[in-house]
């Protein structure tokens, strides 16, 4: 629906535009002064310098699989991330956990879990949709490779990036 934005009514001071020009010049002068005093720094010398330490908590880097404090890969191959992924970067092949395994109750695990980092757009939908708190966007942003195949993160790589996640819900314990 088209919205008509009313044009603001300007008074005579505003119509002159002079105060606005002066205010703009003041900002420019402030930056000029700061530069002379060496207080502003425009360029970061990447990759010698990195901004990793100052990344915000909500930063969305490479998606990764996590283990919980029990050491279990949290993913149960429900394939919801594969379904939601807008660029279809995720491919999962589910497998069945053998009944002799410690976590046999979970029944299902990802036999293969590939994320094509050429396709990934770092949107974070996979993290949002995951019912198992198994996939998180980590702070890795320098994803490089020499071939297309290099750019596909397999399960091992994803778990390596992901590491262990503490403080998540342990819903597969015996009582539940």
């Amino acid at each position: 629906m088209a919205v008509t934005v009313p044009r603001p009514k300007l008074n005579w001071r505003e119509r002159m535009y002079l105060p606005a020009i002066v205010a703009g010049l003041a900002i420019t002068l402030k930056h000029f002064k700061n530069m002379l005093l060496g207080r502003t720094k425009v360029t970061m010398q990447y990759p010698e310098e990195k901004w990793d330490s100052s990344l915000p908590d909500h930063y969305r880097g490479a998606p990764a699989l996590v283990r919980d404090s029990d050491g279990r890969v949290r993913c149960v191959a429900c394939q919801l991330c594969e379904f939601i992924c807008p660029p279809r970067a995720i491919k999962i092949i589910p497998g069945e956990i053998p009944s002799t395994d410690r976590f046999a109750k979970v029944e299902k695990y990802p036999e293969e879990f590939d994320i094509d980092m050429i396709r990934c757009i770092f949107c974070g939908m996979c993290e949002e949709v995951c019912p198992e708190q198994a996939i998180y966007l980590r702070k890795d942003y320098a994803i490089t490779g020499f071939t297309r195949a290099d750019m596909v993160h397999h399960k091992e790589k994803l778990l390596e990036i992901g590491g262990v996640m503490h403080g998540v819900v342990l819903k597969w314990n015996e009582k539940k």
């Binding site: 149960v76 191959a77 429900c78 394939q79 919801l80 594969e82 379904f83 589910p94 497998g95 069945e96 009944s99 109750k105 979970v106 029944e107 299902k108 019912p131 198992e132 819903k171 009582k175 539940k176």
Partner: protein, 572 residues
Amino acid sequence: MFNVQIDGVWHRFPKGTRLIEACEQAGSYVPRYCYHKKLSSPGNCRMCLIEMGMPKMGPERKPELGLDGKPVINWMPRPQISCAQDVSEGMGVRTSSPLVKECQRGVMEFLLINHPLDCPICDQAGECRLQEFSVEYGTSESRFLENKVKKPKNVVLGPRVTLDDERCILCSRCIRFCQEIAKDDVLGFVDRGSYTELTAHPGKRLENNYSLNTVDICPVGALTSTDFRFKMRVWFLKETKSICTSCATGCNTIIGAREDVIYRQTPRENDHVNSCWMCDYGRLNFYYLEAENRLIEPQVRVGNKLAATDWKTAIDRAVLQLTQVGGSEIAIIASGRMTNEELWLTLQLAESLGVKLIDIVPRREPGDHILLSEDRNPNTNGARLILKSTAEPGANLLAIAEAVKSGQIKGLAVLGENPMHLGISIDQLSQLSAFVVMDILSSEATEKATVVLPACGFAEKRGSMINGKGRLQRLNRAVRPPGNARDDWEILRDLLQAVGGGDSLLSIDDVFRRIGETVPQFTGLTFSKIGDLGVHILQMEELPPTHPSDEEKIELAVAIQARRRAVRSRQT
């Protein structure tokens, strides 16, 4: 016809209509778990509770009429189940009153007390009634803090069905299916109260040929198909309406495929053919499409070996070889697994080559009296109608085999069959100067072919077939054929055109229309007119009675085939 008021609107329903069905027809869907329209209603899930009323009777035992001239309804103070009730005159129903909604919420809460929250690993997720109704009629949170009841998980009920008792909501659909449809009463409930669980009778297994239907009708993920379990989430599957080609019944199916891989086949409702069911044998009979020995390239014989080539070369070579042999020295072995269109093109090809010896291979194995037919060819009736031979399909087969053995036949075209099953030896096949094979899987016989034409399986092509009861039904393409394999009808059309003929056959619809010009039963029909449910085109009495001598010949051909198969299975 009875007048029934549903949610304030009067409707008319025939006598004997279930109230739950009447509500659905009136557009007020009543949620249900235990009720299935093809099974009896035990009324044990209580999900279909509604408010019901009967017409208020005056002193003279006649219904009192309101201001609108319709009967005044006396509402019952307690809710009723709509699945075990038939409609009656003047009945009133409320399906979304506050009382009904409260009941539905309560039933949902009870059902979810012990149900595990394992939707991420449950195969039913996406087509689970419990999931759907809990969103529509339930509450978002559970008030229960107690531990859930533990029940057996991953129970092997039979060779094809795995049970998770914790997910079971005790609707008893599977039990009733086994009693009423499969006539194999092996399932039942044991223990009481919260500890009630579904189990097989001690010492028995759920191993009848219809066991996988229990998985279809299970409203939750308790019964799962061992074959499909954990393979693919259902929301990824592209569903194609098709028919099963494993026997002459032609059960209507839905093929679930993703990215050209078939994951499952499920029955599709068609009351004229298969109701809501299909047999396990037909349902799981699709893995051969992905077999190792699938033919994917057209091949021609160069010296002692088969070499891959392009389609044009293969077609030209096949036609050249066949035309070099006279029409009287060629035989065509077609298949009852071919569609009507393919059979018609085969007949045209035979006519333009001047071939007299043409027949299909009969396939008979014991059937049951539920769905599985004795005739394991899906399109015997189509062959009967289209090949227009005076003898029964299969009666000429022994004559063809004899002629090949004696060397009288020098050119043989085999379409989707293995001539070795008819007692023709590998040496006799390699003696042939033209041996054209159109098939989907390689075998010992295809190794000896002079030209190999890779074709499509049932899920990879369109076409029509006539089932054992004379119903014309449609096959639809669910997946693409692998490699360079092509649609059978296109191969036959190209062969026909190379011989000279087959003009203006650009699509399979053209072929179908041309059949209509020669076969009266097809006149006026098109693929879209066949529809999803098929059209009855053959009254079975129309078929000529089988000649006794034909019957003997067919029996013999089937016996030879069976013997060959037995020998082969012993060898492997």
